[in-house]
């Protein structure tokens, strides 16, 4: 009979070995990095960030550097972590402040101004900070997506304007995200403010509520839980991105001619979300950080953005992949709302919305 204690001891031993192994494993990595004098540079970003291994490796090889990525929660949480760690920054750069948060980020004085030469290839309309502390890196439109098959099958015309959603034929068809906990949700709320004005937007929402709109906490719950084109849900209209149809096509096993989903972007029904990046004050490697910033705006990285994050590159020289030119949309007439007004009023609007909708 094996003695009970020896079993306990062997159990403890196994686990401490596993622990020790994993620990030494990572410290060994660190040592190699140091001895090779590879400089580490840290990029803080949000959960949805992605990039091709090939593209990142190219930068690392060329600059004898290693980029460490810190995904720090959703866009709001990540920015807050950057603000909290300002005295002893977690990272050298930050990627992913959007135009609803930009005023807050600038007011906190977190970023070093850097006028990258690559900015020459970025449209003026995207550049919101004249001092270039935060520079635009990508953008995309948040808008209504709809299930094509559903509308064809029911022989109903898909929505074209926000007012359409109030029609009786759209009763119980729409799902939107809570602007207090979701960034597409906030973008859609801002769209309605732009369209109906500060006086009228709550009216629109009240009618939308009467038309049996469903509100979820986040995009995942709405798209994967309630949207008829992507789940067992029964609602064919959802707030998502104008590039979502391209993702539907790209991430399907069998090639498709048309996307299963359509978008409504005309008549100021889409909100343009612009994402910015900046060099964090307190970086110990300003030269390398500037190089990385140039790289983020370079054609190479920018052309990688669409298929990694399903947004549009800010660099207007970047060529779009075919699936984007065919299936993703960017509108000429986005909802217009000044970013300074957004930062002034966002909390009030969210609060008013919460009071009347929940």
């Amino acid at each position: 009979m094996i003695h009970p204690i020896s079993k306990v001891i062997s159990l403890v031993m196994v686990f401490s070995l596993v622990m020790a192994f994993s620990l030494t494993g990572c410290s060994r990595d660190d040592r190699i990095k140091e001895s090779d004098a590879v400089r580490e540079i840290t990029l803080m970003t949000h959960d949805s960030f992605s990039a091709s291994a090939r593209v990142i490796e190219a930068f690392e090889k060329k600059n004898h550097a290693k980029i460490v990525f810190l995904k720090s929660g959703d866009a709001g949480e990540a920015l807050n972590k950057a603000i909290l760690s300002r005295n002893n920054p977690l990272a050298d750069l930050f990627y992913g402040v959007d135009n609803t948060f930009i005023s807050r980020a600038l007011a906190e004085d977190l970023f070093l101004p850097y006028s990258s030469p690559m900015l020459a290839h970025v449209d003026e309309s995207l550049r919101l900070d004249p001092e270039n502390r935060l520079v635009p890196v990508d953008y995309g439109d948040v808008c209504i997506n709809y299930d094509r098959h559903w509308f064809i099958e029911k022989n109903i015309a898909p929505p074209e304007t926000l007012e359409d959603l109030l029609e009786p034929r759209f009763k119980g068809l729409t799902v939107v995200e809570n602007p207090a906990t979701s960034s597409p949700g906030l973008a859609f709320l801002l769209t309605t403010v732009a369209r109906f004005g500060e006086q009228g937007y709550l009216d629109f929402w009240q009618q939308l509520k009467n038309n049996d709109v469903l509100i979820t906490s986040g995009w995942k719950e709405a798209y994967w839980g309630k949207f008829s084109a992507a789940s067992e849900g029964t609602r064919p209209v959802v707030v998502s991105y104008a590039s979502s149809p391209a993702a539907e096509v790209y991430f399907s096993k069998t090639p498709m001619e048309t996307a299963p989903t359509g978008v409504m972007t005309g008549h100021g029904t889409a909100f343009r979300q612009i994402e910015f990046a900046g060099i964090l004050k307190g970086t110990q490697k300003p030269a390398l950080a500037k190089k990385l910033m140039d790289f983020l705006l370079s054609k190479e990285f920018q052309e990688d953005i669409p298929l990694q994050m399903f947004v549009f590159p800010a660099n207007n020289e970047a060529t779009l992949p075919e699936v984007f030119t065919k299936h993703a949309t960017i509108t000429d007439e986005p909802a217009v709302i000044d970013y300074k007004t957004i930062s002034e009023k966002r909390d009030t609007w969210i609060e008013q919305w919460t009071e009347s909708m929940l």
Binding site: M1, P4, I5, K7, V8, V14, F15, S16, V18, L23, C26, T42, D47, S48, S50, A51, S52, A53, I56, V68, F69, L70, S72, G73, G76, E77, N80, K81, S85, N88, L90, R104, A180, T181, L214, I215, T216, S217, G218, K220, E221, Y223, W224, G225, A230, S231, E232, G233, T234, A247, E248, V249, Y250, F251, K253, T254, T261, F310, D347, L358
Partner: protein, 551 residues
């Protein structure tokens, strides 16, 4: 006798202190220090702090509503969980039948599933197009209760079963011989003896539902908010750190108060002499017994297995037929992403983190339980609540605290991989404490005294007396520590160097973008997560057998 006491007391003082320092040191560095940092920053940074704004928050009707909702939904969720789990625990603890281990394992798997995946499973079963259509639970309080019972069922089941099967058969037989009816035996003998285990598991479930986050947001919908949800909203979206800090303090204060009352009211020791399980188990013979076992097994199959089966089916059905397409796709990095992780690596990373968490949580948890049990009642009643605090502390708040405090050598942990097992252990070791404590308090002092009189050193006494009796309880705690780590997502994502990605991180990555392949792969990884969890349980439970040999 007195003299021995004096001698042993004197010589035990130092090792006892050493044992106590393990959990206290761990909590001090990784919990209290970061929390103190973030509270200090929130209240005294001088920028936006105003007492009036805080009072507004504290007295607003909305806040009162949120606090009230948090409390009553947690209370009812806990009651419902007890009602569902206790009858099953009775069956599990008293009867011997085939596939019992498997059933127990099935009941515990839900614990690791991300809420968004559970939502998909429920949608498949009870949604508008589901198998049980017509049950319109979408975004209702019933959905929250259902999900809480689904997640926490096994907490009560495992802890109570473990304790119940140790109850001495003779006590009940004696009562019956003296003329007590089966009901009298149950209420007068069994229930009082079981009380510590039932209370311990109920407390865990309550704290869990009290600080519920994902279930409320995803399954309850935006109409419902617990304090935890509100903290997240205040901290991450409204940048109101003082507000979030006040709410976190409320959470901590409430948990502490509740635990303090609980431990103070608790009778110190429920003495009985434990016996090995094999003697106590009955074979299923009569029709009534068969009915009870069938009902219990049936309930667990329908309630726990059906949603999980729905997920597995989703991962296997592709364009109308059975296919492994989604699983095959997992091995390909089609988009060449830097954050791609092969399924093999994801499983390995998950297991390494879970094993590390298990080891840390068992060591710290057992030390904590021993410390509570051996210290004076008043100190124990203070320590016990303290050890439970991490379970109900907002992850956002603690995360912020870690960022501003653990930022200099020798504790520059903000971006270290070690942060993952540490964060997991913080929420895992309270399970070990709760499940070990009833067992450890049940050991009669006479047993230890007898052993020391026979010349055993304190260490030997601990190994030969305490440990065998605790073994089963440690296993129950270890299972939960393991599952807590396997299912956790936030801390793991933060250290999201591609090479450390785990299964839950992969699930979230897939669900981040539209497309059927993404959805299918998320379901495939979820199925893998369930399988790995099940295999892990069976492995952990192999080590339990020494508990049976102990006596």
């Amino acid at each position: 006798m007195d003299r021995i006491d004096v001698v042993t007391k004197g010589s035990r003082w130092i090792p006892r202190l050493a044992v106590a320092l393990v959990p206290l040191g761990f909590l001090g560095i990784f919990y209290f220090y970061p929390l103190a940092g973030i509270f200090h920053r929130s209240f005294f940074s001088g920028e936006i702090f105003s007492m009036a704004a805080l009072l507004d928050l504290a007295t607003s009707r909305r806040m009162a509503g949120i606090v009230w909702f948090t409390l009553w939904q947690a209370g009812i969720s806990t009651l419902l969980t007890l009602v569902c789990a206790l009858p099953c625990a009775y069956v599990m603890a008293n009867f011997d039948f085939k596939a019992k281990k498997l059933i127990m394992t099935l009941a515990t798997i839900p614990f690791v599933l991300p809420t968004i995946v559970v939502a998909a499973a429920f949608q498949a079963l009870a949604g508008e197009n589901g198998f049980v259509a017509g049950l319109n639970l979408e975004h209702s309080i019933a959905m929250i209760f259902l999900a809480h019972v689904f997640y926490n069922f096994s907490v009560v089941l495992r802890i109570t079963t473990g304790f119940w099967s140790f109850l001495q058969q003779q006590t009940r037989e004696a009562a019956a011989m003296l003329g007590a009816s089966p009901w009298q035996v149950f209420f007068k003998v069994t229930l009082p003896l079981l009380r510590p285990a039932i209370l311990a598991s109920a407390i865990l479930v309550f704290i869990f539902c009290f600080s519920s986050f994902g279930v409320i947001l995803v399954l309850g919908g935006p109409k419902f908010a617990t304090v935890e949800v509100e903290i997240y909203r205040q901290a991450a979206h409204l940048f109101n750190l003082p507000g979030a800090a006040v709410l976190s303090l409320f959470q901590i204060g409430f948990t502490f108060g509740m635990m303090w009352v609980y431990t103070s009211l608790q009778k110190r020791i429920t003495t009985f002499i434990p016996q090995s399980q094999s003697q106590g188990l009955k074979q299923v013979v009569t029709l009534k017994e068969k009915f009870m076992v069938a009902t219990c097994v049936g309930f667990i199959l329908v309630f726990c297995l059906a949603p999980m089966a729905a997920l597995v089916i989703k991962s296997l059905v592709f364009e109308g037929g059975l296919s492994l397409a989604f699983y095959k796709e997992l091995f390909l990095n089609t988009s060449g992403s830097l954050f791609y992780v092969s399924p093999v690596d994801a499983v390995e990373n998950s297991l390494v983190f879970a094993a590390a968490t298990l080891a840390l949580a068992v060591v710290i948890g057992v030390c904590a339980a021993s410390t509570i049990q051996r210290s004076k009642k008043r100190i124990g009643a203070l320590l016990d609540p303290i050890f439970m605090l991490p379970l109900s502390t907002s992850a956002v708040t603690l995360g912020f605290g870690i960022i501003i405090t653990l930022d200099k050598p020798p504790l520059n942990l903000r971006t270290s991989v070690m942060l993952v097992p540490i964060a997991h252990t913080l929420v895992a070791f309270p399970f070990v404490v709760r499940s070990v404590l009833p067992a450890i308090s049940s050991i009669p002092a006479s047993l230890r005294e007898a052993a020391s009189l026979l010349g055993a050193t304190p260490a030997r006494v601990w190994f030969h007396v305490d440990l065998p009796i605790m073994a089963r309880a440690i296993t129950a705690g270890a299972v939960f520590a393991f599952t807590m780590s396997l299912g956790e997502f936030g801390a793991t994502l933060f250290i999201a160097r591609p090479e450390y990605s785990t299964m839950p991180v992969a699930i979230y990555r897939f669900l981040g973008q539209p497309g059927t392949m993404n959805y299918g792969q998320a379901m495939a990884v979820s199925s893998m997560l369930m399988l790995v969890t099940a295999v892990g349980f069976l492995f952990i439970e192999r080590f339990r057998s020494f508990g049976d040999q102990g006596f």
